[in-house]
Homo-oligomer: 311 residues x 4
């Protein structure tokens, strides 16, 4: 079960499809194996970048189960954000029964005030049950809901099953410091903070007190290394590795277009078989593909993983 | 099957729950019977005011089937708006198999440009299949997506299965005139236009060329009468009846709070057993209840239906 | 100077233009005189419905001064919402020097959290100075900023110069009750609450504890009467008069389109010379004009003012 | 006068203030001189990052005049976005009289449809006059208005005085390609495209056909070099220089927080005297300052300008 001491990299798993849009089970398995070999301490599936809303209920449960089983002892978090609590409850109970470590809940974009956000999480916990550990997803850029540090504190203090923050506010460094400050002044219990946003600020997020990353860059093996180097106090080495990847991280982090880049690189690395997305989804243009190839060729000078296929 | 000649009142059905949140089948039956007796020419279920997002997939299908079966030859439209096309397809095929007359599709709030809206409907039709007649739901106030008359025309011209507009832009009278103008100048084929917005402008909407209403005021029997009077050219009588209800229509049309009012009145009229909503949902305060009672007592002087229980 | 005991109707003044877009001083004077004769206890100028953003700085100050001077002892509130505090300060100081009773400040739409809203008002007061009484404009439908009753209480308690709420949340009746409840439980000092939203709920707003209206319906004389009747405990008479106007109130309250309706009716009543708006602005179509004429003819049966020209 | 052949770097000028909030004229002069020495081909003042909304009308005109005069033959573009056309016209005529090369206009966030955007620019041109060259500012992340390439084409084709696009859509590379494609297929006349977004994609934007940058990174001298190298076909050198700055570019490009970073670095470089912003404005925390210092120390290894003070 997920708890507030989680650390490292919980990689956001994309959902591999065949070119015709069917779910690609073989790629799911290969990708899951790769994540474990890369040193990921956890996997998060069926998030926004997992194209979760494009799956129907049965598909979603089948994918979750497959990854959970394949991952063995490695904890798997499942995104269960839904337009209503009935669907959220149904999926949450199903994936926990299948062995998930916890679930992740984003606020709906309709929430406008501090109290509405706090109440929403109270009702979500009532719906799924207080026994399921959950991750608060804080992603204003995509969702439009802004949670102050004080609101996150209220959610954490009100709900013992809130164990982790997927931090992807932007800008967000001061928010990490504020939350860790709340822990130090005793006004909030400790939670795990893993950072998203494609890793764009991972170098400093670790230094600010984050426990690692929960994001989906096409080189999760690099994310693992940066977090380890940073936690080991090897600041210069962490930044050197991070900076070598930054041109690519930046390119992949483009809203909307980024998933096509990610899937293209994962395919090029031999991790998934097809870069296909379900509709509505972006495709990568020939020019963009050439730009990514160029970035990878430059990256390969610093990090040989950028030039090789897995397996 | 729903077609472009539909007229009259397609009442938006709420979903009756027991006080404990379970779906209330007996109330569904009684409500359906009442709608038919009231002269509704169709029923629309699982819309926003039907608390559709709060149902899980099985519940949604069961409610749709129950209403369809009970309604007999009266056409039933089912709302199938969903965060993704897989779920939209699954629900659409299921309800059409169960005998639905068509489905209703609202655009997701993420759409920003004319082309994005047009493409979305093209993809939705590809997902559900071109054989299912569908209703375009145009509800900017709730969804935030603004469709110009030109965009609606593009959707209609591109997709033969687009047969109806649920018109609830606000303000919206000029939009009806613009669309009927397109039909007259030959640039758009004829579609049915039924109006929503709680009926707040039904008096003039009919005069502008709408075919009737698709909305959910607690007196659908009044909506039926206003549409009939207007179509029969009895302008003064239509406005007299409408104006008598307007204080109540206005009260019920309050965003968010309105559904609690509607369910309270439907319960008071003896049509459903409980005014309960699933969470997150509003409740009506004691003061608001007294205000509604007062409005009903005033209304009863003009329309005796406001003072009586059904059955 | 405006204070927390203000009551009655502060009519929202439109800005009269000539057909060619120049400010129409003669109409300003005639309109101001009419407002006083109609029994308005105050006037609010340069609000959103006053097309304030379409005026340049000099024009704004000239209009404000003209109305203030003409209104004599009747208090005039000036809208000073601005994209920045420097412009807000400049305009505020200028209109107070010219004799304004206070200013009105709406939050900018960029504010997202409770704290941001509270801080914004603190900075606004710092900018204009603590000696200028101000009105909090709470208009989520147009602005997108939602203030809970708790946030309004924080603004009131933090800033002694906050003396009035222009209440136009929608729905909003429970908000009035909540704020008056804060006054009763001692957690908030008393402020004046005047209601907007075109008067669409004025009948019940008065009963909930509002002190009157601050809105711009083309019959402010009716608003004055409804507030008086309600405050005198003549409930039935208040509702009878209100209900007679409701079809027209509803028509005029359409976002965007409403100002064209209002100016058309004010012109028809002989109060302003032209219905022109500055760009970007709506015009009323021939069909809409006929609809308004029809509504006025029906209204005249109940309220003879609807059939007559002033003067 | 600005025309469609503009190239290079039009640096976005911040507005320097003293610590107490007064405009700092000496810093304006020093900064302007630095921009010219750095090789900027133009300067853009009173944009969003110039804190334009925080200035009152007189201040805005004085700052514009000062920069224009100091810049001599170097063209200066002035941001004139305003809530209404009267203020836009007043400022536009004033700055053109003072010698500005053109003005920049962003769409207001209230625009929702393609036609509304196109009409807005038509009305803006009518307001300021067709003789003033203008820049279309396309910045959806900050403004929320999404212009398709087709909409930009309509604005360009409708308005001969539209000579430049400030391109800061995100993602935006495909938009540059689409617009240049319109020029090649003859459906749109040529315009200058200068890119914003803090330069985060400048490396590829130049390769896609942009003419340079219009943005405000604290090292405009680097932007100048990257554009020159790219235009000279020295791809590797352009990317090497760009990549060295990317960790800092990324840090400075954080919405909201970024201006505090930029002003801090400009102060550290000796270009402006104070990092103060007018309220509401962000300040840089001690931790963030240390992070910036660290980034600059790493950058200085590749680009000695990061370690030195100007003058």
């Amino acid at each position: 079960m997920l708890d507030a001491n989680a650390k490292g990299v919980y990689v956001i798993a994309p959902t591999p499809f065949h070119d015709d849009g069917r779910v690609d089970d073989a790629s799911i398995d290969r990708m899951t194996d790769f994540f474990l070999e890369a040193g990921c301490t956890g996997i998060t599936a069926l998030g926004m970048m997992g194209e979760a809303p494009k799956l129907d209920g049965e598909e979603a449960r089948a994918i979750a189960s497959r990854i959970i089983k394949r991952a063995g002892n490695t904890p798997v978090v499942i995104g269960v954000s839904a337009p209503g609590f009935a669907a959220m409850r149904t999926l949450s109970r199903a994936v926990m029964d299948a062995g998930a470590a916890g679930v992740m809940i984003a606020p709906p974009s309709s929430l406008k005030t501090d109290d509405q956000i706090v109440n929403y999480y109270a009702q979500a916990v009532e719906a799924i049950g207080p026994d399921i550990p959950f991750v608060i997803q804080d992603y204003p850029l995509a969702i439009g809901v802004v949670m102050t540090p004080g609101v996150i504190r209220r959610i954490v203090q009100d709900n013992p099953s809130a164990v982790m923050l997927k931090h992807e506010d932007w800008p967000g460094l001061e928010k990490i410091s504020a939350l860790r400050g709340f822990e130090q002044d005793g006004s909030m219990r400790h939670i795990s903070i893993l950072c998203g946003n494609g890793g764009l600020f991972l170098d400093f997020e670790c230094e600010r007190g984050a426990d690692g990353a929960m994001t989906g860059y096409a080189f999760p093996d690099m994310l693992v290394d940066v977090v380890k180097l940073s936690q080991a106090g090897k600041r210069e080495e962490a930044h050197d590795l991070f900076d070598a990847h930054l041109p690519m991280i930046r390119y992949e982090q483009q809203p909307g277009a980024g998933l096509a880049v990610r899937k293209y690189v994962l395919q090029r690395r031999g991790i998934i078989s097809s870069q296909a997305q379900r509709k509505p989804g972006g495709a990568i243009s020939a020019t963009a593909r050439a730009e990514v190839d160029y970035l990878l060729s430059r990256l390969a000078k610093h990090d040989p993983r950028a030039g090789k296929r897995i397996g």
